[in-house]
Amino acid sequence: MAAETSAGRTVKVLFVDDEFIEFRSLKKKIGSLSEPAVDVEYAQSIGDALEKITAARYDLILLDNRLLPNADFRETVPELRGIGYTGPIGVISTDISDGYFQQFPDYGVDFRIGKDEMDARTLQYIIREYVTYDVPDFWKDDYTI
């Protein structure tokens, strides 16, 4: 993932939330981000997200914790991983204080963040940390270098 994401390419982000207004809010918050260029797409349900991931490649998924009917990341993220998505997944929610959030690494989640904490520079950090990061050549799969 990291090696294939060149610095100049647009980073494709899939935002999954059952409230469309949250998508508009995110777009507004990150509107000024140009380094790197970001293309955010929207999915309204986990089923919609699964279809989109199967059809196209996404560098990052930002996933609302609670999706209808009443599923949290402990059910939704294994579904995304189950179809072979190995990119980073961040759980984004209004409230991330529930105790079960401490288990997020066990469910294939890379990070969690509050909705009010997200802005252009935070997304820039997330992309740097999880998408465009570079692993030293001598640590990569030795038969691919």
């Binding site: 401490q102 890379d110 969690r112 990569k140």
Partner: protein, 249 residues
């Protein structure tokens, strides 16, 4: 409204008031922090609480005092602006303070002006006119780090510096406990051992990510940690050491 409802309501309002009184970076999120992004969130919240815009946590470097780009651990400064940030920090602190960072034990601050030799109309420097505050940090083993805060604000007084120092030390202590001690430990975690085992079976990071239901980033992070802990030079060496030491069968 009956009395029981009134007391419930009052308790709720009191709870909300208390919650609002505790800054994010010193509240419950501090105890919950477990990965680098959690610490990014805490440092960012601390910086904003004290009206700074930027933060950089870095290892102190003797070669490029106070630190070079490669020594940056966590920051909200864009990658392409890091060099400019460090240059402006040096200018703000002055050559003597910047070069003596490795010996500093208490915070220092300064305000930047226009960079010498860089005409204002040629270089856009968002850090111009920023107040910089450098806080030295130490691990119990004596490894030296620093947190630099910068923003357009007045220079902090001693009382505010003391508050910032205390908050930053608390976050850094937690970072040490959750991340830095793990890095220094020679013992593989259960997840790292599992990933080393799959690597010894000839699986790539992508394949291991699918098998374990993780991201490639997480797998690579565990491999990086295992390589460092086993003092290996690459993945093959890591597997050889793990087999030799009986860590995987």
């Amino acid at each position: 409204m009956v009395w029981s409802d009134f007391w419930k309501f009052r308790g709720k309002v009191a709870g909300m008031t208390n919650a609002a009184a505790v800054p994010f970076h010193t509240g419950p999120e501090l105890n919950r922090a477990i990965n680098r992004t959690d610490f990014f969130r805490l440092f960012k919240a601390a910086a904003h609480h004290y009206h700074f815009d930027n933060f950089v946590l870095a290892k102190i470097s003797e070669a490029a005092a106070p630190f070079g780009e490669r020594e940056i651990v966590i920051t909200n400064v864009a990658e392409r602006r890091a060099t400019l940030f460090i240059r402006t920090l040096k200018e703000a602190l002055g050559a003597i303070k910047a070069k003596s960072a490795q010996f500093l034990t208490s915070p220092v601050f300064g305000k930047s002006a226009q960079l010498e030799g860089y005409p204002a109309d040629l270089v856009f420097n968002e850090f111009n006119g920023n107040t910089f505050l450098l806080i030295p940090l130490f691990t119990p083993e004596g490894r030296r780090y620093c947190l630099v805060l910068s923003g357009v604000r007045q220079e902090p007084d001693q009382s505010e510096i003391a508050d910032v120092l205390l908050d930053v030390m608390r976050i850094f202590d937690k970072l040490y406990e959750e991340i830095l001690t793990q890095e220094m430990s020679g013992r593989l975690t259960q997840r790292e051992a599992e990933i080393v085992k799959w690597t010894s079976e000839g699986k790539t990071s992508a394949e291991i990510a699918i098998i374990l239901g993780l991201s490639e980033h997480t797998v690579n992070s565990h491999i990086t940690a295992a390589v460092r802990k086993l003092d290996a030079v690459n993945r093959v060496h890591m597997v050889a050491i793990a087999l030799r030491n009986g860590l995987v069968s």
